[in-house]
Symmetry: C2
Subunit: 399 residues, 2 copies
Amino acid sequence: MSVTAPQGFRAAGVACGIKADGALDLALVASTHPCTAAAVFTTNQIKAAPVRYDQVLLARRRTGFRAVIINSGNANACTGPRGLSDIYAIVDLAGFLLGFPPDTILVMSTGVIGVPLPVDAIRAGLFQAIPALSAEGGEAAARAIMTTDTRPKMAVRRLTLNGTPVTIGGMAKGAGMIHPHMATMLALITTDVAVEPELLDDLLRAAVDASFHRISVDGDQSTNDTAMILANGSSGVALDAHTAPLFREALTDLCVELAQAIVRDGEGATKFVEIRVRGARTPQEARHIARHIARSPLVKTAFYGGDPNWGRILAAAGSAGVSLDTEAISLWIQRGEEPPLLLFDRGSPALYFEDVAREIFAAPSFRVILELGLGDGEDWVWTCDLSHEYVTINGRYRT
Amino acid sequence: MSVTAPQGFRAAGVACGIKADGALDLALVASTHPCTAAAVFTTNQIKAAPVRYDQVLLARRRTGFRAVIINSGNANACTGPRGLSDIYAIVDLAGFLLGFPPDTILVMSTGVIGVPLPVDAIRAGLFQAIPALSAEGGEAAARAIMTTDTRPKMAVRRLTLNGTPVTIGGMAKGAGMIHPHMATMLALITTDVAVEPELLDDLLRAAVDASFHRISVDGDQSTNDTAMILANGSSGVALDAHTAPLFREALTDLCVELAQAIVRDGEGATKFVEIRVRGARTPQEARHIARHIARSPLVKTAFYGGDPNWGRILAAAGSAGVSLDTEAISLWIQRGEEPPLLLFDRGSPALYFEDVAREIFAAPSFRVILELGLGDGEDWVWTCDLSHEYVTINGRYRT
C-alpha cells in the first residue's frame, strides 16, 4: 500500500523508458485534497535541479500541494540551467493533465548524475501514469523509484486520534550513496491528518533525525536526497497539542522502518550492524564517532568477512578527531538481546573465546557497543558491510 | 639498498615466527655512529605502544640513537599496559646484545591490533638478526616490514654537498589503512649527514607534508603510523643554511617516491590517480576537498571499473563541508601530459566523446582536475581505486 494507504492518495508507477531494461522508472503520487508539505533535503553543496526546484517552491508556501513526480534512472544533477527548464516542461504538462496549477507539483529524481533528463520520455510517461493513478498504486510507485534497490521499501502506520482512525504511509529508496544527512535516499510519506505547516516541519525533522540521519551505507552523500511528507486532511482529524506526540511517535516509527530497510538493502549488503557509542562527552560526539566507524572500509570489510577484528573499530574511533582516553575505552559485541561479549576492557584486550566472537560477527545482524568512559553522551547509527557485490555494483553502475 | 645506502648503517631482516607463513617479520637497522632522530607519528587518538614509547624517548632527547627494531604481523596496539612492558623486554635484550643503552633503540610495529606482541619470538629473532646485520641488509629489512604489501618499497638519493657525496636511503610499507596524516604506514629514512635536531625535524615535517600526508588508500587511519629519520653524520658533512635546501629537496623527492609506491601498491589497487583541486579559497580547502574525493567509495569503485562517472566526483566534492558554487565548477581528466579532457564546464556537462573519457579512465594512471572557481587555492592527493581484491584482502585479513 505504501503512500496510498492514507485516504485520498492515489499513485502509479510506469516504465517510460529512462531505464534501458524497461523497468518501472516513473512514479506519480496525487492527492484528492490540497496538502500541507514539509521536506528535508541533502546538505550536499552540489544540489540536483529537483532539490533546488522543491526548495524554491517550499520556501514560497507550504500548503496547496497536489502531486509529486519521481523518476529513477536519472538524477537531473549537474545538468546546468537545462536541469531546471526540464522540470518546468514536465510539471507544466502534469499540471495541465491533472488539472492542477504546475506549482502545486513537487519533483524528485534519482539515478545517474550529469546526464540531461529525458524529458520527452517522462512527458510521454505521464500520459500512461495519470490514467493509472489508483488507491492500489502504492506498490508500483515504490517499485518505480528503485535504482540498485533489490526490493521496494514501504511502510504503513495506523493510529486512532480523538476516536478517529488516521493513517501514515511511506515509500523510500536507498541502496548506494547513503550516509547521514540525507544521502541518495528518497522518501515520500503521506498522511490523511490535517496539520499546520510549522508543526508538520517539526514532526518530519524529528522523525528524520531519528531514522534517515542515522543510516550509513557507504559514507557517500548524494546530490538528490529528499524526505518529504504530504498531509491532506482527508481523515477529518487535525493535529493538536494533544495528538501531535502520538502522531510523532508513529511517524518516527515508520521512518525508522524505512531507514532500516534501506540499510538492510544497501548495495551488496549482507549484514545489518548497529554501532552504539556510549560514555562520550556529548551525544553529538557519540554520533560523530559512530558515523566515523560506520564509514571505515576496514571495519566494513571485517563485518563482511565475519572477522571479529575489533582493533579496526578502535582505530576508526581514534581517528574521528575527538580526543579519547584509551585506558577508559571498552568494547562489546552483541547479537539480539543476548548478553554482550566484552572484547576490550578499559584499555586492554579482554579474555573471550574467539569462536564466540566469530559466531556473533557471522550473524546477519549484530550490535557493536563502544564505551568511551568520558561522560554520558550516547548515540548510534545503523550500517551495513562492504562486500564484493558493492564493488561489482559500483564499478559498473552506468554500463 | 634502501636504509643501508648511507654510510655507517647496517640492517637485517629475519623471520622470527610472528607471521604464520614463515615470511620475514623482524627488521633491525643499526648505525655505527650515534644518530640524530626525528619522527612524525599518527594523529589517531588510539596510539599503539611503540608510538607512545618512541614519543616519550624523542621528547626526552633527539640525539644518540643507535638502532630501530621493526616487526610486522602484530601492531602492539590496544594491548594495554602489557604493550609497553613488552617493548622494554625487547629493547633491553637488543641493547645488551648490541652493546648500546636500551634507550638508544627505537621501535615500530605493524599488523593485527589487539593481540599481545609475541615477545619471546622477537627476542629469539634478535639472536638471528644481530649477526645478520650488514650493509647489504637494506632489502631484507624492507621486506621484513611488509604486511599486505606485494613488494618492498625502497628509495635512495645521492647528492653532493660542499663537494662531498652524501646519501639518503629509505624504506616504507603501506598497503591498507592509508590516509593523510599517517595511516598504517611505516617509513624509516637514514642519512649520513650530520644535522641539528630542530633542523632535522623541520626537514622531515616538510618532506612528509609533501608526500606521505598526500596519499590515501582507503581513508582509514592507523594506530601505528610512523615516519622516522636517523642522521648519523658518517659522511663528514654537516647541514647548514646553504646546504639544507638541497638536502630538503632530495629528502622530499625520496619521500614522494616512497609515498607514491605505497599508493601504487595499495591493497587491491589497480589504478594510481592524482586528485588535483584548483580555484579553492585556500590551499587547505583544496586539500580537504581532494582528500574527501579520494575517500569516496563510489568514486573509487568508478576508478576501478574504468567508468567515467564524473558525477560521483562532484557529489563527493559537494559533501566535503566546504561551501561551493556549482555554476563556477569545471572538471577535467587527464592522462599523462596529454591535453586534459573537459567533462563539466562551469555548471553544465561539457560536450565530449564518451569513448575518449572511458579510455582515460581505463588507463593505469590518470589525473582528475577539479576547478572550483572561488580563489587561488590549489592542492592535490594521490590515491588508488577500490577493487574486489581490497574486499577480499580485508574481509579475511586475520585468517
